[in-house]
C-alpha cells in the first residue's frame, strides 16, 4: 500500500457567533487549505464532510457544502463521530486514497453551534450519550467528564489546582493564536478568587475555567497519494499511524473512570502502525474539551504513567520547551470547540509544526507529531501520528 500524505491544511478563525451560513463558514477553512497547497477544486477527487448533526436546519449538509465549495460533480458524503468527526474523516480519506479509489480527498469539518442557545447545546451534547438510560437523569458533557475528574482525584490524588495548571498553560498559548476564541492569559488566582468567572462551579469538581467554550468554525485537510503529494507539495506530511476505537456509551459499561479506554486502544494501534512509541512523539495535540481530558490524555497516550499526569503539568514538561509539548496552540480550552471542525484544526496545528511553519508556537525541530481526538465521553477515540 502506498504512502498517504497531508498536503494542505486550513481553518477559519473560531468565533463565538459566526455571521454567516454553514456553507460560507465551511468555505473559509476550505479556501485556506486550497491556498496552502495551491490547488484547484478540479484537482480534488472527492470530499468528506464532517460535523455533529442537530445544530443545523440543513439536512444532509455534504451535498450542499460540496456544491458551494465547487466540489461537484465529485462524490461527497457525511462522516460523523461527534467531537472526533473530522479525525474520523481523515481516517476515511486515508482509506479512499490508500485503496487507490481517489488520488486527492478533501476532509472538511464544520460546526455552527451558535444556531442554538448554550443550554440547548448542552442538551444536544448530552444526547451524544445514552438517551434511553442516562439522559433522563439530566446528564451533560461537563458532568460526565467531571465524574472522570472525581475518580482521577480519588484514585491518584490529582487536585483541582493541577487541573487549573492545564488551563493556565492553555491560556499561555491561546493568547498568541489568532484563530482562537479565547485570547487572554489565565492565572491560578482566577480559580481561587470568589466571584471570578473561571472559579464558577459547573459540575463538581469542574469549574467554568476547566471547560472549553462552544464556538463556530471550520477546518479542512487535503489528503493525497504519494505521486500527487510530490507534485503539489514541497513539504508533505505523511500519515504514519491511525488508531480508532469505541467504548460503551453507557457509563455503566465502563471498567474505569480514571482514563479513556478508547484513547488507550487508539494510541496502541497508531503507535504500532507507525512503528514508534510515546517517547518518539515530539509534539502533540490532545482533546482538552475539559482540563481533566488533557490530564487523562497524558496518561492514556503514555506520555506519563497512570496517575503521574499531574507531575507532567506541575513540572511544565508539556510546555513548548518541555519534554513533550502538548496543545501549544492553546488547545480546545482556548481555541474553542466547534465540534466537527476540531479534529481538522488539531491536525492543522501538527502539520504546521512538522513543516516548521507554526510561528510563535513553533516547537524546536519536531519530526513526529500526534493528534488525539475524542468523540462523546470516550465513546469514539481517534489517534493519528504524522511525520515529516
Amino acid at each position: 500500500m502506498g504512502k498517504v500524505a497531508i498536503i494542505g491544511v486550513g481553518q477559519s478563525t473560531f468565533v463565538r457567533s459566526y455571521p454567516g451560513s454553514i456553507r460560507e463558514l465551511a468555505f473559509e477553512g476550505f479556501k485556506a487549505a486550497l491556498q496552502d497547497v495551491k490547488m484547484k477544486t478540479a484537482d480534488i477527487g472527492a470530499s468528506v464532510i464532517c460535523s455533529a448533526p442537530e445544530y443545523d436546519k440543513q439536512r444532509s449538509p455534504a451535498g450542499v457544502l460540496a456544491e458551494y465549495l465547487g466540489l461537484t460533480p465529485q462524490p461527497t458524503f457525511y462522516v460523523e463521530s461527534l467531537c472526533s468527526s473530522s479525525s474520523m474523516g481523515l481516517r476515511t480519506a486515508y482509506a479512499l486514497v490508500a485503496s487507490g479509489l481517489h488520488d486527492v480527498v478533501a476532509v472538511v469539518g464544520f460546526q455552527k453551534m451558535s444556531e442554538i442557545s448554550s443550554a440547548e447545546s448542552q442538551e444536544r451534547m448530552g444526547r451524544g450519550a445514552d438517551i434511553q438510560w442516562e439522559s433522563p437523569f439530566g446528564t451533560m458533557m461537563p458532568a460526565y467528564y467531571a465524574m472522570h475528574a472525581q475518580a482521577h482525584m480519588a484514585k491518584y490524588g490529582t487536585t483541582s489546582e493541577d487541573l487549573a495548571l492545564i488551563r493556565v498553560k492553555s491560556g499561555t498559548y491561546g493568547q498568541g493564536n489568532e484563530k482562537a476564541v479565547y485570547r487572554k492569559g489565565v492565572t491560578l488566582e482566577m480559580f481561587s478568587q470568589p466571584g471570578s468567572p473561571m472559579a464558577g462551579p459547573v459540575a463538581t469538581p469542574l469549574r467554568v475555567g476547566d471547560c472549553c467554550a462552544n464556538a463556530d468554525g471550520s477546518s479542512c485537510v487535503i489528503v493525497a497519494n504519494e505521486e500527487k503529494a510530490r507534485e503539489f507539495s514541497q513539504k508533505p506530511v505523511w500519515i504514519m499511524g491511525l488508531g480508532s476505537a469505541t467504548a460503551s456509551v453507557n457509563m455503566a459499561g465502563r471498567s474505569s473512570f480514571s482514563g479513556l479506554a478508547v484513547a488507550q486502544a487508539s494510541a496502541q494501534q497508531a503507535y504500532k502502525m507507525a512503528g514508534v512509541t510515546a517517547q518518539d512523539i515530539d509534539v502533540a495535540e490532545v482533546h482538552d474539551c475539559f482540563t481533566i481530558a488533557e490530564m487523562m490524555a497524558y496518561e492514556d497516550l503514555g506520555f506519563a504513567k497512570p496517575g503521574e499526569g499531574k507531575e507532567l503539568i506541575r513540572s511544565g514538561e508539556t510546555y513548548k520547551e518541555g519534554r513533550i509539548p502538548v496543545n501549544v496552540d492553546g488547545g480546545l480550552l482556548s481555541k474553542g470547540h466547534p465540534i466537527g471542525a476540531t479534529g481538522g484544526s488539531q491536525i492543522r496545528t501538527i502539520v504546521l509544526q512538522l513543516r516548521g511553519e507554526a510561528g510563535g508556537m513553533q516547537v524546536k525541530d519536531p519530526e513526529i507529531g500526534l493528534v488525539h481526538n475524542i468523540g462523546g465521553v470516550g465513546l469514539y477515540g481517534n489517534v493519528t501520528i504524522l511525520g515529516r
Partner: protein
C-alpha cells in the same frame, strides 16, 4: 371498541424528561412503579445486563428474564451539577453517579437528601425507585 392496538409508551415515564417512548424493555417501568429496579439476564447463555436489554449480543438470543438489582453497590464516581440541560433546571442541584454491583454497574442519581460532604468515592450505596414531583419515575442512590 376500537380495533386500534394501543401503543405501549410506558418508557415515557422514565426520568425527569424521557427521550424514549417505545422499547422492548418497557416492563422496566412497570417494575419500577412497584419499587423494583430490574435488569435482564439471557436465558440461553446467562449474560447479565444493566441497563436491561431485549437482545443478547453474546449468543443473539432474545429470550430474556428479569432479575432485581439487589444488595448494595460501591460508589465508583459522581458529580454534582450546578448547571442543567434544558428541561432539568428545576431539579438543580443534583448529583449523578455510578454504583458497582460486581456483576454489573448502575448509572443514576444520588438521592437529593444526601449531603455532598457525606458522599465519598468507594462508599456503599443502595439504588431505590423514586417518584418525581412531575409524576415521572426514576431511581436514586441512598446511603446505607
Amino acid at each position: 371498541m376500537s380495533d386500534k392496538k394501543e401503543v405501549d409508551a410506558r418508557f415515557k415515564k422514565f426520568g425527569t424528561v424521557s427521550f424514549t417512548a417505545l422499547t422492548k424493555t418497557n416492563d422496566f417501568i412497570t417494575y419500577l412503579g412497584e419499587g423494583k429496579i430490574m435488569g435482564t439476564k439471557c436465558r440461553e447463555c446467562g449474560m447479565v445486563f444493566f441497563p436491561p436489554r431485549a437482545d443478547c449480543y453474546s449468543c443473539l438470543s432474545g429470550d430474556m428474564e428479569w432479575f432485581p438489582v439487589a444488595g448494595t453497590g460501591k460508589l465508583l464516581t459522581y458529580s454534582k451539577l450546578q448547571y442543567a440541560p434544558v428541561g432539568f433546571e428545576g431539579d438543580l442541584p443534583y448529583s449523578i453517579a455510578v454504583l458497582d454491583y460486581g456483576a454489573y454497574k448502575v448509572f443514576g442519581r444520588i438521592a437529593g437528601d444526601v449531603p455532598e460532604d457525606q458522599i465519598k468515592v468507594g462508599m456503599e450505596m443502595k439504588a431505590e425507585a423514586n417518584n418525581l414531583p412531575n409524576g415521572q419515575i426514576n431511581y436514586v442512590f441512598r446511603k446505607i
